[in-house]
């Protein structure tokens, strides 16, 4: 079995298994903890509505804070949207999704994908620079933050290298295999560290949204 076969076979299977099981384990480890009924008299019963509202509304910082977090929010948006475009709108990726899900959707032109990938990469680099230079971020960051950053950047870099076929002497097949392995690493890591925010964000915003709605307070 050569590297590409390994990447397309067992490596992928293990990565997907870790992705799914890890996600389930982490969510279950939280939501099945005891949840005491709240006996205080609610001001409002719109808790579901409150949860949903906060899940959406917290995507944009409140006006009171906007100027103070503008830069990090712009970078954050740029790289998340860019990443989504690269992951979900590139023809070869869509074919892979089809092999797993059984259906496909239209792709964006390759030129658009390349631009998105480069912009995403730059915004991720800018976020790293910010993490390394801001005293607050330097203090609160740990291994998870830097590792998750690297694991997110790796597929972008290896993907761009494969597309441009600049492998410093490596064959295209090897480049592709390395790209696939870097994606599987992202999948395998996603549930365990901070990247878990991709699913935790709904739980956590929803929790606060429901709690505050019960008190009739704004979130």
């Amino acid at each position: 079995m050569d590297l590409l076969e390994f990447a397309r076979g067992p490596a992928m299977q293990w990565a997907l298994i870790l992705l799914v099981l890890g996600t389930c384990w982490r969510i279950a480890g939280i939501v099945f903890l005891k949840r005491k009924p709240d006996l205080s008299e609610p001001r409002s019963h719109g808790q579901m509505a409150g949860a949903l509202r906060t899940i959406f509304s917290r995507s944009v910082p409140a006006r009171a804070f906007r100027s103070r977090v503008l830069y990090s929010n712009l970078l954050g948006y740029t790289f998340h949207i860019g990443l989504a475009i690269v992951v979900f709108a590139y023809q070869p990726h869509i074919l892979w999704f089809e092999s797993i899900l059984g259906f496909q959707w239209p792709a964006l032109p390759n030129a658009v994908i390349s631009v998105a990938a480069v912009v995403t990469l730059f915004s991720l680099v800018a976020l790293l620079v910010k993490r390394l230079t801001s005293p607050v971020l330097r203090l609160i960051s740990n291994f998870d933050d830097y590792f998750s950053w690297a694991v997110t950047v790796a597929p972008l870099v290896t993907g761009l290298m494969a597309v441009a076929d600049v492998g410093f002497g490596l064959r295209y097949e090897t480049l592709l295999a390395v790209h696939l392995l870097s994606v599987w690493l992202l999948f395998a890591w996603l549930p365990f560290g901070k990247l878990g925010h991709a699913f935790l964000v709904f739980l956590s915003r929803g929790t606060t949204g429901a709690l505050f709605a019960r008190r009739g307070a704004r979130t």
């Binding site: 008299e41 910082p61 409140a62 103070r68 740990n142 964000v201 915003r205 929790t207 008190r215």
Partner: protein, 453 residues
């Protein structure tokens, strides 16, 4: 430190602008003589004790984006990264990941998270007590919606059981548990002062009635420093013809059990009011102009006591708003401009943001709101017990500069709030800065402007 000589060691100071324990000559910020190892254990056990799904969700969700710092007055005014809200929980976050989270086994086996030490907890005392008012402004900015203020409250549970509480906060809490009031407003002192105010303001006072529709409570800050507010609320109640009473077995609404982190004391303090109200068959308990008293009785008491409360709990501003909105309470117009400082626990964290504004409208004042007033209001910096801690004074004054700038900018003639703890922080800071503005009570303004039938 034994409690017998508490009065000698922690004499009260009821004269200065900020009342409380006199500045200690020697600080005792660690209580008892528990060995270090046991302290950490007690802290962590009590931190995770009431760890439900909610707290676990928050602990798992932080993405270390650092945005919470930008909402916290302690960080914004000092730019000291240690005051980043989520950093204040760092030892507890570590302990959670190591001992309780879904991957705790992995963390322990691989030694990925170090065991928290007593030295670290002592270092964090300043972050968990001196530099957090539990105002919840950070909760509003966090992109993951993490309610950091609640987590700080839980961390205090751990700190109290570990015996690592700031000197003054521990001693006022202990006094409150022993005497029924943190500031010497014992039942007999309370009764005396109620009668004194009744005579002084010629208003009929009711105390210890067997039956009453409404039980009124007070905060010790009001009893000792702003006693006029007792006359003010009595005047309003009598004017409305409501059947009310004070109760010497349940009058103290401040809850230093909550602020210091002792849940058992918090429960005892709430129970007094609940029992008193039950005994006289009250359908409503009115909380005074005090922020955390509202959080304690309105949102937490039922859960601590394990029963639904058989009466309504209203903050006095909510009560006044109800009376004004239903047309029962008519007020004279006050022809002035005013600005209103939102007490965090009543507005942002209590959901009663609109109530004082309805009252102000009925008073006909020209309301000049501060920037971000209401749910995004800047905390005054004195809540959460911070104002009792002398070593936190420089930090507290620093954060107060935000408030002064905001208020000066409105150009309003009258400053109003609905929290006596905020008010005493304003008084103390006014003296410190030789500022020309004085904070007033919304309730007292209402009482001064009743329209006689």
């Amino acid at each position: 430190m034994s409690t017998a000589d508490l009065d000698q060691k922690h004499p009260l100071d009821l004269e200065s602008a900020r009342i409380g324990v006199r500045k200690p000559e020697q600080r005792y910020d660690v209580q008892g003589d528990t060995p270090d190892e046991a302290r950490v254990h007690a802290a962590m056990v009590n931190f995770v004790k009431d760890f439900g799904a909610t707290a676990a969700t928050y602990m798992e969700s932080c993405i270390h984006c650092g945005q919470c710092a930008e909402a916290c007055h302690f960080y914004v005014q000092t730019e000291d990264p240690r005051y980043t809200p989520i950093w204040k929980l760092e030892p507890f976050k570590q302990a959670y990941k190591r001992e309780a989270g879904p991957f705790s086994l992995v963390y322990r086996l691989l030694g990925l998270k170090k065991k928290v030490t007593t030295a670290e907890l002592k270092e964090w005392q300043e972050l968990i007590y001196d530099s957090c008012t539990m105002c919840g402004r950070c909760t509003m900015i966090c992109p993951m919606g993490i309610d950091i203020a609640t987590l700080v409250g839980q961390a205090r549970h751990g700190m109290f059981q570990a015996g690592i509480v700031p000197h003054e906060l521990w001693s006022v809490a202990e006094r409150a548990q022993r005497e029924g009031s943190p500031l010497g407003a014992t039942p007999s002192v309370f009764e005396e002062r109620v009668e004194w105010m009744g005579d002084e303001h010629e208003v009929e006072m009711f105390i210890d009635k067997d039956k009453a529709d409404v039980v009124l409570t007070m905060s010790s800050i009001e009893i000792q420093k702003y006693p006029e507010s007792m006359a003010a609320i009595a005047k309003v109640m009598n004017h409305l013809g409501i059947d009310w009473t004070f109760r010497t077995d349940g009058y103290e609404a401040t809850n230093f059990g909550l602020l210091s982190g002792n849940t058992a004391w918090q429960r005892d303090m709430s129970r007094k009011i609940v029992d008193a109200a039950k005994q006289c068959g009250a359908h409503t308990v009115i909380l005074p102009e005090c922020g955390h008293a509202y959080g304690a009785l309105r949102w937490q008491a039922a859960n601590l006591l394990g029963e639904k409360l058989p009466f309504r709990v209203l903050h006095v501003s909510e009560f006044l708003a109800e009376q004004v909105n239903s047309g029962r309470l008519k007020l004279r117009k006050v022809d002035k401009s005013a600005t209103f400082h939102d007490p965090c626990q009543v507005s942002r964290r209590g959901g009663a943001t609109q109530a004082p504004r309805d009252v102000l409208k009925a008073l006909g004042v020209e309301l000049r709101e501060m920037e971000n007033a209401g749910d995004y209001n800047w905390c005054c910096g004195g809540g959460g017990g911070v104002i009792t801690i002398h070593r936190a004074d420089p930090l507290r004054y620093k954060t107060f500069e935000i408030k002064m700038a905001q208020i000066d900018k409105t150009g309003a003639e009258v400053l109003l709030t609905s929290c006596s703890n905020c008010r005493q922080n304003f008084d103390d800071s006014q003296a410190h800065f030789h500022w020309d503005k004085t904070m007033h009570s919304l309730l007292e303004l209402v009482a001064d402007n009743l329209v006689e039938h």
